[in-house]
Amino acid sequence: MSDTNPSPMNDAILQVDHLSMKFGGLVAIGDLSFQAKRGEITALIGPNGAGKTTVFNCITGFYKPSEGMLTLNRRDGSSYLLERLPNHEIPARAKVARTFQNIRLFSGMTLLENLLVAQHNKLMKASGYTVLGLFGFSGYRKASAESVELARHWLEKADLVDRADDPAGDLPYGAQRRLEIARAMCTGPELLCLDEPAAGLNPKESMALNALLMDIKDNTGTSILLIEHDMAVVMQISDHVVVLEYGRKISDGSPHSVRTDPRVIAAYLGVEDEEVETVLTEVGDEDVIEQLDTGPDSAHGPGTSSSYLAGPVTDTIGHSEGERVTVSKGASKAGQFDAKSSAAASKAAAQAAAPPAKAEPAAAKPTAKPSTAKAPAKSKVAGVSNRLTAPRGGEADNLTRIKGIGTVNEKKLNQHGIFHFDQIAAWKKADVAAVEAYLAFDGRIAREDWVGQAKLLAAGKETEFSRRVDAGKVETSHASGKTAKTVAGKTAAAPAGKRGGRK
């Protein structure tokens, strides 16, 4: 089971090599390699469904990985191949403890009992596997008293000692999270894996949690592997960040380098926008939705998440201003960035030919696997009949004068060769369907009668909406002549504000 070849100088407590995990056809983790260093806090971040919890489940033996090697090097020099150990031996022998995303406490047992259960193996030995303990041997009594002391120690650390004799199920949410960590610590781990410990905590509880984690790191030497959505927590306490998307590593490094990694930003942006859009759709604010809409992104991934870009990341959006790009549906956010940067070289050609991700195999490569479901949509875009490679006379119409088209969509339409009202006016059903699929608008083009509006505008007439636009009364549109770019900056800032507010 464990090869105990001593390698004292090994400062990586956990070494993940080429880890893959497949569920049927779904590749939850694909060829993931990273290291967690001893005594550090390593954060594992990524959008929902990226496979972070699955990584934890592989490390702690709940899933047997399809491929790959997980090496754990203990302080005493022994090392264990985790994928070969039975589930329960991983905490017992390799000294890896974990918490769960949806808290798993023994809710009908008291806090103290929860922490005593965590010391099971130690106490079992002390009680002579029950036999000696049954007859009240003193060795067991001593061990028992010590275990209560250890429990008290962690209860104090977790600020729960006043509630030691209450059932765990009775605690408020934040306290349950802390108790779960305290319980994991009672197993005496060398590596502590925490699955979204700050999820659902209020700022105060979040602070307390940070303090607890820092305390653990500083005073016990326990290394921590942390899954976290709250960027504030990640930036504050982690020494090293690994970013996952669709089961693949897209970035790995110090918090600062990861934070400024454009691929990470791209990965996070899409989810954010989708999020905001869902909220707004519920509120029914269509104009704002339109403005935010980045089309393909709403086709993204399995889950929605809450607190992605709280706090610090707001300013990364500042950086990304003007870099918002859209690629075919189904491509990953990071892939979109790749697509954009490589596409920049041959921009005109790429725009004319097909969506960038498709045009650039290199860009598509890291993103080829994920969510292929929406793929067909992109071929449809190519089907819009009356595309132009460039605006006639070098100047496009202000498409935002059509109700339903905002700056973002205007840009997208431009990218796909739609520049003039008369082009939209000439759309047939198939074209509308193709564009709707591309923009991920269901029936909205027909509902808002873009074609009808465009006909009027193409004929030089005005609509009620276009008058308002021209009067500068519509925030989501730009008056004719203004560049799209500046407005795009503004629109990007708006959701950021919202994000901050929502957290």
Binding site: T53, N57, F62, Y63, F100
Partner: protein
């Protein structure tokens, strides 16, 4: 070979009856996740109802075509047995829905005890034999097939077809499947969950009543305590096939039927039940969710 085919036919007959009962277990389990221990006794009540109707018919008419008599017995048994199961669900299971998981299991056991003793008290403890209703036996190349067996297989097949249609093609079936997946969500979407569950119990009881009638016709005798063994066997069948799965229940029923008849024929009749139960245990060790059951994913 003849002998083998003969046993195959016997097994098919027996398996049909088990399958019909097993559906009741599996449906109730699927929709409210509880083992309805009283279902075997519901089967017994069905058989007893058929017996009493048979006697009434005998007293009222000098002679009546067998098919009609059987049909009347079956229909009355289905109606009254459904009423029993409906009442039991309403009185003993519904108030405990969403409560402690073992509580409805205990009330089901209580109901099972109460039902069989109710029949004992009201109808007496002795075996109740009836004269054979159908005695035609066909002999095809040394294999004897009785008309009884043919009736059983045909009735079962027809009922299963009807049942399959109900569950898969009607809005009722859709409501049932919705409740199975997520009862809260189904309720939010306007499905009357209580009604759907009641109907599930009624359907299970109706099938059990048919099984009871066929059992009475086949063996020609019934007693108040006859619910237990077929009940446990049918439950075994449901689990063997994968509890919650309707085709699984039928498959499991047939398997138990075959195992029993083959074991009695080739090994020892004494140990046929032991064989059936042992095979259940062995199958479950290798297929922990039964043959057609959805494997339980352990979400961490």
């Amino acid at each position: 070979m003849q002998y083998f085919v003969q046993q195959l036919i016997n097994g098919l007959t027996l398996g049909s009856i088990y399958g019909l009962i097993a559906i009741g277990y599996t449906m109730v389990y699927g929709i409210i996740g509880m083992i309805n221990f009283a279902h075997g006794d519901i089967f017994m009540v069905g058989a007893f109802t058929a017996l009493i109707v048979f006697l009434i018919l005998g007293a009222l008419f000098y002679s009546l075509p067998v098919v009609i008599a059987l049909l009347i017995m079956m229909i009355v048994a289905m109606l009254l047995t459904s009423l029993y199961n409906w009442t039991i669900e309403k009185v003993a299971y519904r108030p405990l829905r969403g409560s402690f998981r073992l509580a409805p299991l205990i009330t089901a056991i209580g109901m099972s005890i109460a039902l069989s003793n109710f029949v004992q008290v009201t109808q007496g403890p002795r075996n109740k034999p009836i004269p054979p209703m159908v005695s035609t036996v066909y002999n095809i190349e040394g294999i004897s097939v009785s008309l009884k067996q043919i009736i059983i297989v045909i009735v079962t097949a027809l009922l299963l077809a009807l049942f399959w249609y109900l569950v898969n093609k009607t809005s009722l079936g859709r409501a049932q499947r919705a409740c199975e997946q997520d009862r809260k969500m189904a309720a939010l979407l306007g499905i009357d969950v209580d009604r759907t569950i009641s109907i599930t119990f009624v359907m299970g009881a109706a099938l059990a009543a048919v099984a009871g009638t066929l059992f009475l016709m086949y063996y020609g005798v019934i007693a108040f305590s006859d619910g237990f063994t077929p009940g446990v066997k049918a439950f075994t069948a449901a689990v063997l096939g994968g509890i919650g799965s309707l085709p699984g229940a039928v498959l499991g029923g047939l398997m138990i039927g075959f195992i029993e008849s083959m074991w009695s024929a080739y090994f020892s009749i004494d140990y046929k039940d032991v064989a059936a139960f042992s095979i259940l245990a062995i199958v479950l060790i290798f297929l922990p969710s039964g043959i057609l059951g959805r494997p339980e994913v352990e979400k961490v």
